[in-house]
């Protein structure tokens, strides 16, 4: 069952001189119920913008240019007892709900999205260490969220639940009466996770959930996220620049570059049968702890600025495999399986399958062989300035 379906989402940041920054461009992906989906990419690739836009948390100058965010869930006033959208709402052309009951979050007003946030989609912000209010008790902050979204709950029940949630993430329930500064870094992160789970959301958006943490604590938090998923069946959309963290927790993922999805599909296929020049380059450039002798090769050049970019492939300036076609337009997502077995370029329509945005997908074997060679990357001339 698809929980979240993002179709051709483009987000812009308006700039004073009338141009705009194309933070994401025609991004499509879908998240199933109970799975962990990863968005990985370097800084400035649009991954955080994308996640924030799902729940209307963009900065003031950010706006959705086009695209839909279909979410399997709807506003409380539009739903029946089971939480599904009522038929009259579906039939109403003014309401952004389609026949299968999914609601377009991008079309909701800011007042409406407040009923979705936390209740249906909760977010663990990037600097979760600083996300707790220092002047409220940690437990009270969780209670506040519960009472806002489930007004029928009594205060006592809410307090009981807050303590229960803290215990579930490995914090002594008594600590609910402490303030944030009395918590260690790892405990703050756990508390923020507990808080995000307060209203049993269907989707948890975790933006760099472990970036500020030391590795041993990071290890525990990753385990915690896995356990929560097992227990509650919550879907997790995790955003990170750390490829090894992604490799560990994701079921499927999308590799983003310059506001575009370059490659997406099941994690094992992305790492095992990498099909995009950018991902191939990325794999060459990060060290692993297990291998003693390795030669790292960096991708020459720097990521593009996204202010009014042209139509060509976003990666072409740094890509050793770029051809004429790449300058004309950004490639569509091709089906990797078809390219591998039949050696032909076929646009992939199945969002769950392994897809790659590269015109030379039909020469995949050759690309993979060449990408391992260091000279492939170093011998191209890049005009960086």
């Amino acid at each position: 069952m698809t929980l979240l379906e993002v179709n051709d989402l483009s987000i812009r940041y308006a700039v004073d001189d009338g141009s705009s920054v194309h933070a994401t461009d025609d991004v499509s992906f879908s998240v199933e119920r109970g799975e962990t989906y990863g968005l990985v990419g370097e800084s400035g690739c649009g991954k955080t913008t994308l996640a924030k836009s799902l729940v209307h948390l963009l900065d003031d100058n950010g706006y959705v240019e086009n695209g839909n965010v279909w979410f399997d869930g709807t506003l409380p006033q539009w739903s029946d007892e089971q939480g599904d959208a009522t038929q009259s709402v579906i039939d109403d052309p003014d309401k952004p709900v389609r026949a299968d009951g999914k609601t377009d979050l991008a079309a909701l007003t800011n007042a409406q999205i407040r009923d979705i946030r936390w209740r249906d989609i909760a977010i663990i912000p990037q600097s979760a260490m600083n996300a707790l209010n220092p002047v409220y008790k940690v437990g009270d902050q969780i209670v506040e969220a519960i009472l806002r979204h489930e007004p029928e709950t009594t205060a006592d029940e809410a307090h009981e639940r807050a303590r229960d949630l803290l215990e579930r993430v490995g914090i002594e329930p008594d600590r609910a009466d402490d303030y944030a500064h009395q918590f260690s870094g790892g405990m703050k992160q756990r508390a923020v996770i507990a808080m995000a789970m307060a209203c049993s959301p269907d989707l948890l958006i975790a933006d760099e959930p472990t970036t500020a943490l030391d590795v041993i604590i990071q290890d525990r938090i990753l385990e915690e996220l896995e356990k929560l998923q097992e227990e509650f069946g919550v879907s997790i959309l995790v955003i990170s620049h750390d490829i090894s963290v992604m490799a560990e927790i994701c079921d499927r993922m999308a590799v983003m570059y310059g506001g575009k999805v370059m490659e997406s599909g099941p994690k094992d296929e992305i790492f095992g049968e990498t099909a995009n020049p950018y991902t191939l380059g990325l794999k060459n450039s990060f060290p692993t702890i297990t291998s003693a002798d390795q030669d790292l090769v960096s991708i020459p050049g720097t990521p593009p600025t996204l202010r009014d970019p042209d139509d060509g492939c976003r990666f072409r300036d740094r890509c050793p495999f770029a051809i004429e076609e790449c300058h004309a337009s950004h490639p569509p997502m091709y089906d990797v399986e078809a390219a591998e077995s039949l050696g032909r370029s076929e646009e992939g329509t199945d969002e769950r399958a392994h897809r790659s945005a590269c015109y030379r997908i039909d020469e995949l074997e050759q690309l993979r062989t060449d990408a391992i060679e260091e000279s492939t990357w170093t011998e191209q001339r890049i005009e960086s300035r």
Partner: protein, 462 residues
Amino acid sequence: MDRAEDREPLVEIDGLQKLFDQSQGVVDTILGRDPQPVRAVDGVSLDIYQGDIVGIAGESGCGKTTLGKMLVKLHDPTEGSIRFDGEDITDMTREAEREFRKRVQMIFQDPFESLNPRMTVYDTVAEPLKINDMIESYDERRDRVTEVLEDVGLGPAEVYLDAFPDELSGGERQRVAIARALVVDPDFIVCDEPVSMLDVSIRAGVLNLMKELQSEYDLTYLFISHDLSLIRYMCDRAGIMYLGNMVEQGPTDDIIDDPKHPYTEALFDAVPDVELGEERRRANATGEVPSPRNPPSGCRYHPRCAHIIPPDDWTGSQDAFRRAYQFKLKVRRGDISPESVDSGDIETAEALVEHGLTLDVPEEYRTETEVATGGHRVDLSAVDLPTDTRRVLTEAAEAVLAGDADRAVSTLDDALTTSCAERQPEPQPSGTREVACHRYDDGGADGLDGSGAGLSAAPAED
């Protein structure tokens, strides 16, 4: 990785200590409290040989940056000595210090902060030459800067000379910072997390550049990083720090492939890896790093250690001792209170013991009952505790229930002792490296015999 005995060490660090904030507040003075300094680096000894890349790894707050800064004289040590090329740098004449500053340089973590935004690339890179009165004429200086910029991959240099930092990308800025360090042709460079602020695709370029420059300029590096895979990629030798102590040092590959110190083991287990995927073991360590203001006695890692040593007369399993010891720590910290367990339980003291014996570790190291109760309770029958200890724990639990925490603590203190908490382990040679752990006290013999659980063996459970 042989340690050529005929080579002279370039840097000799002996018993180095740095305490911060030894001053007292007014309130502390009035109340007559002793000052409690932060023990950032506490008794570190290390030799760095000419031409090596030595990595220093550890979690945040372990003192690795403070160590690096002392080596370039940005901090003065509180105790101990640093000898650079045979000369003690803590006690130098002005003249000698000028000479020293030409030979030692530092590359900082964040190239977005370490470059002056109002200085051009030329000004930035030429500044060390001016300060050190190295090249008098402008033309020669410009030639030297151009040469160095091209060496660090910023060529043609003319394009960059008059650029300001905000016109450069992160990778280019860090290259400027490297050029600034290289321009005086130093012998030794301290690199403090040189690539942690750079994007993954750029990092490899900077790392490879640093390796190339090492042979070209005949450099010795101290490479500080929290990222163990980077340490593995860059360094010949590595030192692992924990709370101001050097717990293990030796050839990098040996340390990573076969960690001897329990902390090193936990640290490497915690690193996620693309290749290992789901087969990776998680880190077997409890809790978090304690405050360096009041570090634990003895071995600083003992409260979190999976291999804590039971006393000689201990008849139970090592795992049982670890659990009992955790119980003691929890009581001491006040983490265990009568509310910790449901009062509905029939025998509350026993329930409290069962709660207190749980370990805050990843699931794979827990017992069945712990997994089922979310780490809230452990089945007493699954813990191989000696009868005496069991009685003591129950006594302590009863004291806690009666609200007498002091009595509980003293009961436990008498019964549960470990050499790990009593004496600080001295670094012992063990094979190719030095390990500061009591399990290696007997001249590097396999200290695991007594504990019954090997580092590479499966979890100490069952």
